[in-house]
């Protein structure tokens, strides 16, 4: 007797507790990363509301399916017909209204958040032109320096924390998408021609730190490697950083070094025209580099993962002469930092 009572109490607890537990589990697990922007927080809150609605619907329907499978299972040998119920207008009207109400709520709250996401400040703290190309990024600060990938690492977009940052998104080839998971937002970069429309995103980062971003729209062979980093720092630090970048941008004096050995390299169609070259060891030399297309390229020299020389970028067609410091005898690689997979060659320094 006591056993059955305990069992029935347990069943009651389970009956109420199990769905709640499931809702909690679902809602606890399926969450985006903690948002690091103001807009991201709005999206996060919207997501939580929608997830709770979703979890309730899921548990109710799935619960009924499981209940029905156990409760209404045919007993062996039972050949009787159940009541042949064809429908019930009242019930059907009610269950038309239930999803209607749910989707209207969803639509309404979505539109409110959408207004926040799409809001643009009159004067953003920073405006950066983000240019995507196969398979890297160029960040050009308005009235400031231009940043490319360097040293085999993804390019860094430095921005001040606590101020609206506007990124203007354009592509010079195929579609890409600017996506930082911790900002809970993305937007496509679409090449719409010379004077075509560009997309914009605006966000205010709430916390200092570095945030990984990557291309989210499939863009060809090395799509998976098209990454970048957003580095959010206080305003003062940001100003210093940008000033340093701007001063470092001035190309080193060209052709003034010892150019007794000059290697000519051209870049077109995201390829170098040569696959290898040889230079005398322990001797400075020059690289006369010509970029023949409107895709950012440079030439850097690496010993394994360590950059021995990093050439400044040519983001447009043009020519530059790099003065490269002397290399000890050995084998090295030369790479375009924007295309570390596609544009690689061998350098041999011989005695």
């Amino acid at each position: 007797m006591q056993g059955t009572m305990a069992t029935s109490r347990l069943r009651r607890v389970l009956r109420i507790g199990a769905p709640l537990l499931l809702i909690g589990l679902l809602a606890g697990c399926l969450l985006p990363p903690e948002p690091k922007t103001e807009v991201g927080r709005d999206v996060f809150n919207l997501y939580v509301v929608v997830l709770i609605l979703a979890a309730i619907v899921f548990v109710a329907v799935e619960g009924f399916i499981i209940y029905a499978v156990f409760r209404y299972r045919r007993k062996p040998g039972d050949d009787t017909l159940p009541v042949q119920l064809h429908g019930n207008t009242t019930v059907e009207i009610i269950w038309t209204l239930i999803p209607a109400v749910i989707v209207f709520i969803l639509f309404a709250v979505s539109m409110v958040t959408l207004g926040d996401v799409e809001a643009r400040s009159e004067e953003p703290g920073v405006i950066v032109n983000v240019e995507g190309f196969q398979w890297n990024w160029t960040f050009s600060y308005e009235d400031g320096p231009t940043v490319n990938a360097q040293g085999g690492e993804p390019p860094v977009l430095a921005v001040p924390v606590g101020e609206p940052v506007r990124v203007v998104l354009s592509s010079i080839d195929v579609n890409h998408a600017f996506y930082v998971p911790q900002f809970l937002i993305k937007r496509d970069l679409i090449n719409l021609g010379e004077n075509g429309r560009t997309n914009e995103l605006e966000f205010t980062i709430t916390e200092e730190g570095t945030y990984a971003g990557q291309c989210a729209e499939f863009c060809g062979t090395d799509h998976a490697d098209m990454k970048f980093v957003v580095d959010a720092m206080p305003r003062a630090e940001y100003d210093e950083y940008i000033a340093a970048l701007a001063s470092g941008e001035t190309p080193p004096p060209t052709g003034e070094g010892d150019c007794t050995t000059t290697i000519e390299i051209k870049a077109n169609n995201t390829q170098f025209d040569i696959g290898e070259f040889e230079v005398p060891a322990e001797t400075e030399f020059c690289i006369a580099f010509e970029n023949q297309e409107s895709v950012p390229h440079n030439v850097s020299i690496y010993d394994g993962g360590e950059a021995l020389f990093t050439g400044s970028f040519l983001n447009e067609p043009g020519e530059i002469v790099y003065n490269v410091p002397a290399l000890p005898a050995g084998d090295y690689r030369f790479i375009c930092d924007a295309h570390p997979q596609a544009m690689v060659g061998d350098v041999t320094a011989t005695e």
Binding site: F58, P99, V103, L184, F218
Partner: protein, 566 residues
């Protein structure tokens, strides 16, 4: 003794078995060809899926290079959708729809054969890219300008375009055939509102194909012109617009989602009533919900393009959310059918209930994606991959297997083994959820789709490993299925005409049916003529309408009743 009778013969000369299948115009044989062909492509695309999952199991590129990977997921998506799910469901429709209507064949048997034979041709052309320097590698959505000859110079992409155009043509021909068959070949008494739900879903699907697929064909031809004849439909550098491709593709692509799911919903709506021994709850509401989904599907295409910044978000968000209403109605109709039924959990029924559970998840995540701010975060991530697999795999493919277990006895006269079927179902079901549920979380944490590699620091390793284990479980579950099919052909339990106590006319003839299907049809007074036949008109809760007519119809009867629609 004088002989006065002439033996009826189906053929006056002997043809080889192979030639018979190659030249057949019998809708049943064509249906089987469709299904067998579809499963062939299912296994091929499944192997590609395993390749993808193996590469993603751990960070780093271990097995394939990036290009091979990109070809694998492009072929996987294209083949699974266009050469497995759609043709498999078309195959069942080919076999079953004329039977359910009491018709002797499809309206245009030769067109039927043509629309089948274009499929293997198109499929092989798409695959043949592998022989010519690499298959298409731009994703099954083929977004311009990545598919432009400048960025995809390989011939694989051209073969992909030609193959898809052929498959699309096959689809359009099939749709015309279904529409003609359903409107013109119904047996006397089979009014539109007495048609089985499966036929209704095939009808709406056929209309969607007829309206949507020509748009894809036009887009593909434009793309072909861009690539080969210097066109500039989608090339922005000379005045084209790459977003135009997305509009064209998704104007076809979203109805296509319903082309893929509606017939599977029809299958489930046949199976649930039979194994619950109840009529489908709210038959007419279900029909209207199906039509509503079909209509709405043409006004939601740009929800695939929320992040392009080029579409009016509130409209497409609202229309997308609206689709949740008829879909919700259907879900409640299915639940109402189970309610107070007498459920017999055969393998077909398990797959049908599996469909309800899994499609539910895909439906919920779909409504979540209709919210633009949420979409901005999860668009093009694994969340979308999870969503589409819960709809296409958890929905349509579960529907295909439910149909296989349900109609196999009708097609071959033998029942598939139930215990083996249940082993198949459970491994399949658990594997499916292991493979695809973690992808929701991967997407929420920011893992983009279509990447061949990810960083070990990203925190995605464990869930990817779980997903890979699940994918292999799905593959393993196919082994008992294949054993089951082979064993049943060798020594299966004879099915008889009506092994499941079916409701619809296909169970009123022999298994397999004779060449022209019926010698005699039972009277048709509702969407469940066979239920009437077994349990009588007088059953307390059965519909009281038009009980006056007794006796059967011969297939050749042309009399029409006053209340016949159309």
């Amino acid at each position: 003794m004088a002989t006065t009778t002439l033996e009826p013969r189906t053929a006056t000369y002997r043809r080889s078995w192979v030639l018979d299948w190659l030249t057949t115009v019998d809708h049943k044989k064509i249906g089987i060809l469709y299904i067998v062909n579809s499963f062939f492509f299912f296994f091929a695309a499944g192997i590609l899926a395993l390749l993808i999952r193996t590469e993603l199991a751990v960070p780093g590129l271990q097995f394939v290079d990036a290009d091979t990977y990109n070809q694998a997921f492009t072929m996987h998506g294209t083949i699974m959708l266009f050469l497995f799910i759609i043709p498999a469901l078309s195959g069942f429709a080919n076999y079953i729809v004329p039977l359910q209507l009491g018709a002797p064949d499809m309206a245009f048997p030769r067109i039927n054969a043509l629309s089948f034979w274009l499929l293997p041709l198109g499929g092989l052309l798409i695959f043949s890219g592998y022989l010519f320097g690499g298959a298409a590698a731009e994703g099954w959505t083929g977004y311009a300008p990545l598919t432009d000859d400048q960025f995809a110079p390989g011939v694989g992409t051209d073969l992909w375009i030609i193959g898809l155009t052929l498959v699309g043509t096959a689809s359009i021909l099939g749709a015309v055939n279904f529409i003609a068959t359903i409107f013109k070949m119904r047996a006397p008494g089979m009014t539109l509102f007495r048609m089985p739900i499966f036929v209704w879903t095939v009808l709406v699907t056929a209309v969607l194909i007829l309206l949507a697929t020509p748009v894809l064909a036009a887009g593909l031809i434009a793309l072909f012109i861009d690539r080969n004849y210097g066109g500039s439909f989608f090339d922005p550098t000379v005045g084209g617009n790459p977003i135009l491709w997305q509009h064209i593709f998704w104007f076809f692509g979203h109805p296509e989602v319903y082309i893929v799911i509606l017939p599977a919903m029809g299958v489930v709506s046949e199976i649930l009533p039979v194994f619950s021994r109840k009529p489908l709850f709210g038959y007419k509401a279900f029909v209207f919900a199906t039509i509503a989904i079909g209509l709405l599907s043409f006004s939601v295409w740009a929800h695939h393009m929320f992040t392009t910044g080029a579409v009016f978000l509130p409209f497409f968000s609202f229309m997308t959310a609206l689709i949740g209403i008829p879909t919700g109605i259907k879900m409640f109709n299915w639940l109402g059918t189970l309610w107070r039924g007498k459920l017999l959990l055969t393998t077909a029924m398990l797959f049908a209930i599996g469909f309800l559970s899994m499609f539910l998840i895909g439906g919920i995540s779909g409504v979540m994606l209709a919210s633009p701010p949420i979409d901005f975060h999860v668009q093009d991530t694994y969340f979308v991959v999870a969503h589409l697999h819960y709809v296409f795999f958890g929905g349509s493919v579960f529907g295909v297997f439910a149909a296989t277990y349900y109609w196999f006895p009708k097609m071959f006269g033998r029942k598939l083994n139930e215990p083996l079927g249940k082993v198949h179902f459970w491994i399949h079901f658990i594997g499916f959820n292991l493979a695809f549920f973690p992808m929701h979380q991967l997407g929420l944490s920011g893992m983009p789709r279509r990447i061949s590699d990810y960083s070990p620091d990203a925190g995605w390793t464990i869930l990817n490993m779980v997903s890979t284990v699940g994918a292999f479980m799905i593959a393993v579950s196919i082994i008992p299925f294949l054993i089951n099919v082979i064993a049943t052909f060798i020594n299966g339990e004879p099915a008889g005409d009506d092994p499941w106590e079916g409701n619809t006319l296909e169970w009123a003839t022999t298994s397999p049916p004779p060449p022209y299907n019926f010698d005699r049809l039972p009277p048709i007074h509702s969407e469940r003529p066979l239920f009437f036949l077994t349990h009588g008109h007088g059953h307390a809760a059965e519909r009281p309408d038009d009980l006056e007519e007794e006796g059967g119809h011969k297939p050749g009867d042309v009399e029409r009743r006053d209340d016949d629609l159309v």
